[in-house]
């Protein structure tokens, strides 16, 4: 069953340690599971996306958009930011290493468009730098909340 919430669930985790990109992506997606936005299978689905299609989810310098298809476990629209203690390499030719991960999930292919569009606008407007400058986990969450529209 899918449910549409009025506003996306937002989560933030800071100083996360990860041995490699798989662990980083899994932990970023795990935060969505913890807030109830995604099912338990979602983190592994996010890892498989990269295994299958390559590290293209590293969409700009140092930042990966961790996501999988809605039917892989999206329960609500959710956006999480994970800041790594130490950056990891995804194997991207230009955008490695990655220190910021935005994890994203949605229950159906249409529910998320407004949220992601807002996120894209914010990223173009320097969101990544504001996230990197955040003082702690609460600050990270606050910065992300500002960047994601209520929809």
């Amino acid at each position: 069953m899918t449910s549409r919430t009025d506003r996306p669930l937002i989560t933030a985790t800071d100083r996360v340690t990860a041995a490699d990109w798989r662990e980083a992506a899994r932990k970023a997606a795990e935060a969505l599971v913890e807030v109830g936005a995604a099912d338990t299978g979602y983190p592994d689905a996010c890892v498989r996306v990269v295994e299958k299609n390559g590290p293209y989810i590293v969409l700009t310098k140092g930042l990966a958009l961790v996501h999988a298809r809605p039917e892989e476990g999206g329960l609500a629209v959710g956006v999480g930011v994970t800041r790594l203690a130490e950056p990891v390499a995804f194997g991207h030719p230009d955008n490695d290493p990655v220190d910021l991960l935005l994890a994203f999930c949605t229950p159906d292919p249409d529910a998320h468009v407004g949220t992601l569009a807002g996120l894209a606008r914010s990223l173009s407007g320097g969101l990544a730098d504001r996230l990197r400058a955040a003082s702690d986990e609460d600050d990270l969450a606050g910065v992300l909340k500002e960047a994601v529209p209520d929809d």
Binding site: P70, F104, A117
Partner: protein, 111 residues
Amino acid sequence: MTDITEERGTDMALDRQLEVLAVCGVGMGTSLMLKMTAEDALRSLGVEARVENTDLSTARGMSPDVVIGQGMHTGEIADLAPVVITISDFLDKDGLEAQLRERLTAQGWLS
């Protein structure tokens, strides 16, 4: 109605909306980001365009004027459109705009 496919690859100016496809592996997250960057770049260039986003396998059944994707997917999108553009930074509007200007001008679609 004229058959628009006859104009493919010729030097004629487009008298219709440019069809642009932003492609990524899953077809919803990353390609949506790319779509928005492309829309901004095309707007700056003053090009009337419709930009859609999709995944690699769906893209194979489509025939846009321009396809934009990741360099690492070049092999899979190379023969999809007369103009194939690859970028590594999906948020780099200026870089995409420069590539679009050059390639669309070369096609005679932008003067």
